[in-house]
Symmetry: C2
Subunit: 196 residues, 2 copies
């Protein structure tokens, strides 16, 4: 067993999120035991993605163009603000949404010493004032940092006269009330809607 070369590969797999030594080892062995073409495809896909995929100049989405297809083709009057590019992928499951996005690249976090100046907030304000945006939907995560960031940005936006909304918070579809935490339940109670 040549420890160095295999260990080097295991080390690389360990840099993936949530991967410990044992899992990284399994991944490495699967590469070594697999076909050469598979290793070549794998290796090339990593390089290609890193080389060609960058961030959209307008919204911060992943793209291999200067401006992503969403910014090019959709309604720029509605902007959905998310924490990270991958949140766009999640939001895109809402097939009826026709607006565009804005990635903050983080949330305000005093613990991690990340202030408003570290996020793409200036860029958002500029878009709102220059593009005639009518609604900004705050879709940061439903946690303390996400809420604080949403509130902070909403206050900055209010002088611009734009409508600012936040994703509804409540009990998740398919979950069981028995296991819902008290904050989720009280948010669901506060946001209750009349059945018509």
């Amino acid at each position: 067993m040549d420890e160095d070369i295999i260990e080097k590969l295991i080390e690389q797999f360990r840099t993936l999120p949530g991967v410990g030594y044992k899992t990284a080892q399994r991944y490495a062995f699967s590469i070594i035991e697999g076909k050469r073409e598979r290793a070549e495809r794998f290796s090339a896909a990593i390089l290609e993605a890193k080389e060609k995929i960058g961030f959209c100049k307008i919204c911060g989405n992943f793209t291999d163009k200067e401006i992503c297809p969403i910014c090019q083709n959709r309604n720029r009057k509605v902007v959905c603000v998310v924490k990270e590019p991958k949140d766009i992928l999640a939001m895109e499951k809402v097939k009826t949404y026709d607006g565009v996005y804005h990635v903050l690249f983080g949330t305000i976090s005093p613990l991690e010493r990340r202030g408003p100046e570290d996020l793409k907030i200036k860029e958002l304000l500029k878009r709102v004032s220059e593009d005639g945006v009518e609604e900004v939907i705050m879709a940061t995560n439903p946690d303390v940092e996400g809420d604080a960031t949403a509130l902070y940005i909403a206050r900055l936006l209010s002088p611009l006269g734009v409508k600012v909304t936040r994703l509804a918070q409540g009990v998740s579809m398919g979950s069981e009330l028995e296991y819902a935490d008290e904050i989720t339940l009280s948010k669901a109670m506060d946001g209750r809607q009349e059945i018509k």
Copy 2:
């Protein structure tokens, strides 16, 4: 979001054992969001491992040489027979073992249509008769296929006059009797040893 390039990378990560779409996506995003140097190192490590690591001509272990360091430096009179190269890594935790290994590259499995002729059994018999092997330790997995394969090989070896042993089976260290299955318990009972 350029679906094609990112999807291609996600697809590659999905070929890893036990990785579903969501996990593959997380891995892919971590590559795209990470540094260029990391992607380059990762990509190179995959290619290097696949290009340089092969199987030892004697025992079947992973190695970047013709003959692995274990076969070169250790006692060839004792051979530990395992199913796969990665089992050698597990067995090497037994620091007191000074013998060599022999990888079968599988176990006899009628269900998966794998017979004795698909395994490196001929090669094992050749080693045993030519190298003056004194003991063969069957370290195939403690399951039905592993047991059957061990028994099959032991019968082939018996005319050669070599001692054939099998890893002891019983309750695992640190486990709880309460949760042990009945086969494990009866094997532990059968193999019980006197406390001296």
